[in-house]
């Protein structure tokens, strides 16, 4: 009998990764707990060489309950240089980034995967709600998690075949309530812990706007709020504080609610309009990753998801060149936001996706 496969599980101290770890142990794998120490604002102010944040203590406790080894890898500098810097860069270049996607691409499924494989693991598992299958051509397919409300295939659309080959998602077949129940069944002290936050590196207030004020003050330039005709309606304190489709915080008296239509980077202006004027049905997406390595066709229909929490809607995808595509949606959406990912699905299969561009077709 061959040795049991070795699985490294990325642990956060939260309920999902803890239950994922417990499931792996139950399935008979040899399991190693790993945690990434990531850069965060609070942390960068701390000088103590041996501080123990709650989440790390919790992950350590879970590992000890499961009798698995547990290691912490320092990725703070790397995380800062990649995820945080590109977060700031995007906000200062008229994009609204999703740092979780950058993190999955560069930190989790590269840095951590490499360390796990080097340490002798055959697989890296995470607590993401997503599933994996192999099709008849032995190509790995990424599927939505069974719990559609928690499905996280959106942030995993950046994964390559090489990464998927070494990936495991033990929670893909379960719903969140089932996972919480399992946490109790496994006697893990995490059942009631809140989910981890998306902007994990931003300090206690959790406000990305204040983060930008602290870390990229040069990017925060006041400017004008104008309508489509160029009439000045008011003033804003910085483009980065607004996002496409936003209604609140404009502070402009108007007979009907105004929405952010676009951000004009060259004029440092926010263009607003009424509900009728807002929204569009087509956009360009760049740097597309095709999970099956190739697009299914030069033109095809797919379900399109333009934000992590958005509902997906049908669209026609046209390959422009290389990894750039044009997406034409069945009906317009008000919050198509450059910098966010557009992720494509065929039913429950995630085909891949890319970053919504400022350029138009």
């Amino acid at each position: 009998m061959s040795a049991k496969p070795v699985v490294a599980i990325a642990m956060s101290g939260g309920v999902d990764s803890s239950v994922a770890a417990a499931l792996l142990v139950e399935h008979g794998y040899t399991v190693i707990g790993m945690m990434l120490r990531l850069w965060s604002e609070q942390d960068s102010e701390r000088v103590n060489r041996c501080c123990t944040p709650d989440s790390m203590a919790m992950a350590r406790r879970v590992a000890s309950i499961l009798s698995i080894p547990f290691y912490v890898l320092d990725a703070r500098q790397f995380f800062y240089d990649t995820v945080v810097k590109s977060f700031i860069y995007d906000y200062t270049h008229n994009l609204t980034p999703n740092p979780c996607i950058t993190c999955n691409r560069i930190v989790r499924w590269d840095f951590l995967l490499n360390h796990a494989l080097s340490a002798g693991a055959d697989f890296l598992a995470t607590g993401h709600y997503a599933r994996l299958t192999q099709n008849s051509q032995y190509t790995y397919q990424l599927l939505r998690g069974v719990d559609l409300g928690k499905d996280q295939s959106y942030v995993l659309h950046v994964m390559t075949q090489k990464q998927l080959k070494h990936a495991l998602f033990p929670l893909g077949e379960y719903t969140k309530p089932e996972v919480r129940q399992m946490a109790q069944k496994f006697n893990l002290p995490v059942a009631e812990r809140p989910d981890s936050q998306d902007l994990c590196f931003i300090s206690a207030d959790g406000d990305y706007r204040q983060f930008l004020v602290r870390h990229a003050p040069q990017a925060i330039r006041p400017g004008e709020i104008i309508d489509k005709e160029g009439n000045i309606l008011g003033h804003h304190e910085g483009l980065a504080f607004f996002t496409i489709g936003q209604r609140k915080g404009l502070r402009i008296p108007s007979p009907s609610p105004l929405y952010v239509l676009e951000k004009d980077y060259s004029r440092n202006a926010i263009i607003v309009g009424t509900r009728d004027q807002s929204g569009r049905d087509n956009f360009v997406t760049e740097n597309v990753n095709w999970i099956a390595t190739e697009p299914p066709d030069s033109q095809f229909t797919a379900l399109v998801k333009i934000r992590y929490k958005a509902h997906d809607i049908p669209g026609i995808i046209k390959i422009l060149n290389g990894n750039t595509i044009h997406v034409k949606l069945e009906n317009p959406l008000r919050d198509i936001t450059p910098g966010q990912a557009a992720v494509l699905y065929n039913g429950e299969v995630c085909l891949g996706g890319g970053i919504i561009s400022n350029s138009t077709y």
Binding site: R37, C50, C51, L73, G120, A121
Partner: protein
């Protein structure tokens, strides 16, 4: 991943309790459980065990029993020595100057820093050479009439370097300045003879020499006065209040007795293994430097830095391969900052983050060392490959 065997190469972090030590401790948990301060015979039995332990330790250190104070660990001994001397020196002669080596264990350095920041003492660091050594001449240059206490570590925990304690001790004695040494790492291999060391205060902790954790001692030279840092009952001559931990004290005495009796044999066993490790690693791995002194170091202690290697990741990989090592001082939060010790002797961040400490002990075998030497070059090169 090596699931079959785990080789322990971290004896400087802690050691297993010697079976002989364990045996002498056992009666004092439930059979002879009395409080040594009690009048009755329950108390008398354990009081006699307590004083026998004190006598045993005094004999191995060539001092008087009443010069040995039991504490809860080496760190507490360091705290008692430093705080107790500093506050008394200030009270009695207005002395405010603290003189310590920059390669002290945190038990000393953090305590001294607090005495400076919170209590207004003036903290000065002694010069050290690139091996982390302080000479008596260095101390002579820094000594002042208002120096409250000098503290120099006997053998450094991170880099293994030995300091010339006897020379520094004689100098301080001749100037009438209190001298303390943290002998926690040294106690397993070097003499603790208080007369040859000419030292006023010596800290030890049992778990570094095959005794239990949670027990330590401080030698306080007779005639020297210090202030207690823990007040309460009159136990331990008033220096350290609190009911004594009899089974652990008995265990420490036995462990120290065995260790000091066997230290030459243990050194003879470990030194060739140590030198083989050092030689092979320097030959086989590129961009590596030995930290600490090549000869004047603990016989069981090997420490390196590897350029461009994440020390924490290295420890993880070695553990996965079945070898338990350390990066210098126990820290497991994945929050590596270059150690104060390594930066104080001049190593840059890029080097200092890749530190590795391999410490041998009674149960280390030549074949374990060979196995380790098979794995280390492979792991270092693998880590350098994937380093971002």
């Amino acid at each position: 991943m090596n699931q079959d065997k785990q080789v322990y190469l971290d004896y400087a972090a802690t050691t297993p309790v010697d079976a002989r030590v364990m045996q002498v401790m056992l009666p004092y948990f439930s059979e002879s459980f009395g409080n040594p301060s009690s009048i009755h015979r329950f108390g008398q039995t354990v009081e006699s065990a307590l004083e026998n332990a004190r006598l045993t330790i005094a004999q191995t250190m060539d001092c008087l029993p009443e010069e040995i104070i039991f504490t809860s660990c080496g760190t507490e001994s360091d705290n008692l020595a430093l705080r107790g001397s500093a506050f008394l020196a200030r009270k009695e002669r207005g002395a405010n100057h603290l003189l310590i080596s920059p390669v002290e264990h945190h038990a000393i350095s953090r305590t001294a820093e607090q005495l400076a920041s919170l209590h207004g003492f003036e903290l000065e660091y002694l010069p050290v050479d690139s091996f982390g050594r302080t000479s008596a001449e260095d101390v002579a240059c820094c000594l002042r009439p208002d120096t409250a206490i000098v503290s120099v570590i006997y053998a450094n925990n991170e880099i293994g370097t030995l300091n010339p304690i006897a020379n520094i001790g004689r100098l301080c004695r001749s100037r009438g300045i209190t001298f303390h040494t943290d002998a926690v790492q040294a106690a397993g291999y070097l003499t603790l003879n208080v007369n040859s060391l000419t030292t006023d205060l010596i800290s030890i902790g049992a778990h570094k020499f095959y005794g239990p954790k949670g027990i330590g001692a401080l030698y306080i030279r007779k005639g020297l006065n210090i202030l207690p840092s823990q007040t309460g009952g009159n136990q331990e001559y008033g220096y350290r209040a609190g009911t004594q931990n009899i089974p652990y004290i008995v265990g420490m005495a036995e462990a120290l007795h065995l260790t000091q009796a066997e230290k030459e044999d243990r050194t003879e066993l470990l030194k060739p293994l140590r030198d083989h490790l050092i030689g092979s690693i320097l030959e086989e791995i590129p961009d590596v430097q030995l930290t600490g002194h090549p000869e004047e170091r603990l016989p069981n202690h090997v420490s390196f830095i590897f350029k461009g290697v994440d020390g924490n990741a290295l420890l993880m990989m070695l553990d996965m391969e079945g070898f338990a090592c350390s990066s210098g001082s126990a820290c497991k939060t994945g929050n590596p900052e270059p150690s104060d010790v390594l930066t104080s002797i001049g190593f840059t961040r890029d080097w200092a983050l890749g530190s590795l400490r391999v410490t041998l002990g009674m149960y280390t075998t030549a074949s374990e060392i060979e196995g380790f030497l098979q794995v280390l070059p492979k792991v270092v090169s693998e880590l350098r490959k994937i380093s971002p």
